[in-house]
Assembly symmetry: C2
Homo-oligomer: 464 residues x 2
């Protein structure tokens, strides 16, 4: 019985005809592939991008001087798109700067110039978690974005006939985004914010601002963020970038005016969506439901969860600039509050300042690190967080795999070790994973409102 065979030989296919009625193998159909091919073959280059017209009604701050970036690159001035809600008081001390996630625009809430709902529509307004009866709320599109701020889709300085930066845009970081925001605050005459508030990448910016310019902010809110990106999140963003860059239409970033890398963007967004919605919500919402339960399963989308993902990808891929996605996603990877990273960046920026004869900003001068860590490897992180002495709300979600609960603990622990006695850390058991901050107005909103509105003097203090 025992016989050893090599691999199956294709030269001698088995010929078996035990049943004359046995069906001839039939070719499966692939509507998902046909759709992509159809789009690519279309003579007019396929659908037009919408990202440069989808957000309107914002204001633009035009910074008139060069900006030296964290990795030593230089921007010859920049634009920063922003929107505001609520009145700035006479003392200019009721402003809240709201930071966005990766793909957010300045349109956090609807207003007269743009009545479409914003990405934090129900969080902002009279009586809302960010109460516009009390506060003047400012939200910017980040540097590197595609909704009005300077980014890879912006005109190349000195370029001809609508030429864009594309992948000639210099490498970008979270501190660069914050530095640009500080220049906007200078222009608006806002010396000191009531609070810096952000979720996800916005939480990184929020922490970064408090560290970079501690005298310019009163309170800090960091929701589902991190003090430094962990390898699992870098891996998730890596695959998204790889998927996008593998689309031949991406063309090393030079697709403007040509065919968009539609398939790559769609796939990148599908991968991203999985990491954004890691909670048990899908179990309840989609379960194992198939679109057509009685039909033979297909290899293209068949389960409801698959059509949902396809839809999310499809919807996103014209709404965001692919190069902005690459640059900003890499900026998230590079985020690290550790003190030695800051020292290295200052050295690079100083060298670039001398080389290009561009002065550095005031917040680069006399950065003094205080505090110290106790665990060996965390010392530099604790040092890097030591300028954040403000009342700080750290809010995390248990079902978040992209910015998991242990990263929220890391923020809170590092701040406390650096001597901050005004840290509030909540862990929320919401079911939406990372995206909870966009959805759960009640639980996320209450924590934010409480932190922003608590009386000065009592915020962050404990009776003892």
């Amino acid at each position: 019985m025992r016989h050893l065979c090599g691999p199956k030989s294709l030269g001698a296919p088995l010929v078996r005809a035990y049943s004359k009625n046995a069906p001839i193998p039939t070719q499966l159909s692939f509507p998902c592939v046909d759709q992509t091919l159809e789009r690519t073959r279309s003579l007019d280059g396929g659908p037009e991008p919408l990202y440069d017209r989808i957000v309107t009604g914002y204001q633009v701050y035009q910074h008139p001087k060069p900006l030296i970036l964290y990795w030593g690159g230089v921007l010859q001035g920049f634009d920063l798109a922003y929107e505001t809600w609520g009145e700035l008081n006479a003392r200019k001390d009721n402003a809240i700067l709201l930071h966005t996630g990766l793909s957010g625009s300045s349109h956090a809430r609807s207003h007269g110039e743009n009545e479409k709902p914003g990405w934090w529509e129900s969080f902002i307004g009279p009586g809302r978690p960010i109460d516009t009866n009390r506060f003047h709320v400012i939200c910017t599109n980040v540097l590197g974005g595609c909704y009005g701020s300077t980014g890879p889709s912006s005109a190349l300085p000195g370029g001809k006939g609508g030429e864009r930066y594309a992948t000639r845009f210099p490498p970008l970081t979270i501190p660069d985004m914050v530095r640009a925001q500080l220049r906007l605050l200078d222009q608006l005459g806002i010396e000191r914010l009531h609070a810096s508030v952000g979720s996800s990448m916005g939480g990184m910016q929020s922490l970064c601002l408090a560290s970079m310019a501690p005298d310019r902010v009163g309170r800090v809110v960091s929701i589902s963020a991190a003090a430094r990106s962990h390898p699992y999140s870098i891996a998730l963003r890596h695959t998204q970038r790889q998927v996008l860059m593998s689309d031949p239409h991406w063309n090393k970033g030079h697709y403007y005016g040509g065919v968009l890398p539609h398939a790559g963007m769609k796939l990148a967004r599908e991968v991203a969506t999985i990491s954004y919605r890691s909670g048990p919500e899908w179990e309840r919402r989609f379960g194992r439901k198939r679109v057509n339960p009685q039909e033979t399963p297909a290899l293209c989308a068949d389960f409801l969860i698959e059509t949902y993902l396809d839809h999310q990808g499809e919807r996103f891929c014209l709404q965001f600039d692919p190069n902005s996605l690459l640059y900003i996603s890499r900026a998230m990877d590079l985020f690290d509050m550790s003190a030695q990273r800051g020292r290295e960046a200052r050295a690079r920026r100083l060298a670039a300042s001398e080389k290009h004869e561009v002065p550095l900003e005031t917040e680069d001068v006399d950065i003094e690190e205080v505090g110290d860590g106790r665990d060996g490897e965390d010392v530099e992180l604790v040092r890097g967080m030591s300028r954040i002495h403000h009342p700080t709300l750290v809010l995390g979600v248990q079902s978040d795999i992209l910015f998991p609960h242990w990263q929220q603990q890391e923020i809170a622990r590092s701040l406390r070790r650096a001597g901050n006695s005004q840290v509030t850390h909540y862990e929320l058991d919401a079911e939406y994973g990372h995206d909870t901050f966009l959805i759960d107005t009640i639980n996320v909103g209450a924590a934010v409102k409480g932190h922003l509105e608590q009386e000065p003097g009592s915020v962050g203090k404990i009776d003892s």
Copy 2:
């Protein structure tokens, strides 16, 4: 100061030259993209696939009759590759059937005919967790695979000149794989296995076999598996399939003899690797290390974790047949032990049996469901598990996101509700995520060994 702008106009680029020394924007380089282009352009069609020669020294069972599949498809006979270790005793009651994960071959351990280490090398052998001094171990390449068993890369029945099934292969499920294995056991004269053992997809097969043919197995081991796939895992596999099918070289599955969908396979594996290694291991192993910390960050691989992922993808993409990946990954999505799924499948198979004049196998006859659930929606799952009355080890890993701990609880709970009083459920705090079953010989191995070797009569029983 307040001025409302439309989106930035590209017709009038900003012309700013504040610093004459400011650097001209430079183009980033993309070695990762160049590599893919180079490979695709190569005249000889790029590297040859290795999967049809990478595994050798197996035996092949050639099933001489048609097999009716779960979704009503028919295979005109099939091959099943298998390897064995240890001696089958005279009573033929010491056999253990070992089931593989998605991409596993029959080569679980080295032997005289193939001295390369197998995928469970350290788990099998004299004195090992699966002790070959006691047991006769059988491992098969699954139906649908590419390591010697019939699958999409096999010759198309009646096809000409090496034509393959490709995507004419009928839709496949876990029960189909198990049914094929039972035919091999028939041939080997093994009436009743000592145990059915599997991890990941292999755990699904292990549960499925015990339910489909309860009299043919004594003990069951299910490691990091599921009683039914949850939407998050379907989503993860969906993106892998989409990424692969988006590679133009995939060509709806008809790439044999042409250029392989190398880029698509590589990317699919990168996405998969993230879901396989969800544990804290990466934090310790890679942390935030960059390949060249002093260099300006790139958009291609830059962090160590990225080069690791690229390497994993690169290594895999010639070692597995892309169509096998699609079919087997879909089979995992479709896995559902719920009783109503079984009833539907039997009706379809009965219809196909009559239509094609092919008799059904014995285990299709007289399947009686016993037991009952208490939670409304789980009733069908409990019913579907009710034939698994065997001593069953359910082992899960806390850091697994693909087959998370709550799915292990679901298996154990459903079995107990169906009346099984011999369920052992361990939750392991290993750091490797889903892949722990491939790595952690000590902790996974001890649980397996204990369950397999416990005296009959005491296994699964508690003194009371």
